[in-house]
Subunit: 188 residues, 2 copies
């Protein structure tokens, strides 16, 4: 019995990288196999349900990353502005300064949406809810906080689409720079 070449976590991380770039329909087993260095059969050993299982694992990985790197900082110590700054720094890492797509945004299209609509809803919903909670804590009324949190999510996703389409980091960078004003500035 050969020992595993890499941890399951590392395998999933590479699957995640393929799905975010190629989308569900565009991610072929060949590419997933190449990216992980595992043969098809090894992939099916880890993921008996095939490609759908692999995408689900990628979503699990993202949820866990988001919880650890985005939601936890938002709930952590410091002023709302400090916590938000920690989150935006992590967003910048996650999306490689706007050069990498969002897995959720990629799975919204084609078969991915059909397979994962409920997961997408809950993942998007959790992020928006966490942002709204931060904004409420900063002294904004819940209704308005919810509106701002939704708009922040809209801008994150939209800037990734536009930066991808233009092949230009600008939109993502400017979006990141404007998040604090959008979420925490009272005069709006």
């Amino acid at each position: 019995m050969p020992a595993p070449l890499m941890s399951r976590d590392e395998v999933v991380e590479r699957l995640f990288a393929v799905f975010r770039q190629r989308g569900y329909d565009g991610a072929s087993l060949s590419e997933l196999s190449q990216a992980t260095g595992l043969g098809r059969s090894s992939l099916y050993h880890y993921f008996p349900g095939g490609k759908e299982d692999m995408a689900r694992a990628a979503l699990d990985y993202l949820d866990s990353w988001v919880e650890g790197h985005l939601l936890a900082p938002l709930r952590g110590a410091g002023t709302p502005a400090e916590r938000l700054a920690r989150m935006t720094a992590e967003l910048d890492r996650l999306y490689d300064h706007g050069r990498s797509a969002c897995l959720l945004g990629a799975l919204v299209h084609g078969e991915g949406r059909h397979l994962f609509q409920e997961r997408l809803r809950s993942s998007f919903g959790a992020l928006v809810a966490a942002l709204a909670a931060l904004v409420v804590e900063s002294g904004v009324a819940p209704t308005e906080a919810q509106r701002r949190a939704e708009e922040a999510m809209v801008r994150i996703q939209g800037s990734l689409v536009l930066s991808g389409g233009l092949d230009d980091d600008g939109p993502f960078r400017r979006m990141l720079a404007g998040l604090e004003t959008l979420l925490l500035d009272a005069g709006r």
Copy 2:
């Protein structure tokens, strides 16, 4: 020689509908064939370059639709606010109140991006430029106008992603409602 069952324009319109929903990789010839009612061979008669040609035609169709329904109104008669209102009404139609995806946003992922990066750049760029011109006309400095136009595009795309992911029209509706304030209100 059988007469054409439908005009080329109508064929392209149906191809457009498939690509926007399924993305480039997710749009199979079977589905494109079904959607148009044309057999594979007939599709290749219209589009000798195969699927890539079909997607290109869908992009042409979108560019033409955008020129006629979005850019022309922006340049037309009336105050900037009136022209913008005409454009947002057309946006609402194009995206079916937030229920249909954007072709450009769909083609940003997977193979579509590699094939059409330049087209995406110019289509996105033309829209942003037209919005910026309107904002300049309303009395805003060019640099600030460009910033607002880019943010409008970001919000359009982001709201479509979020409305798709949440399966909820809300984000798109609220985005549309906020466009005039974003673009034309001085106090920002």
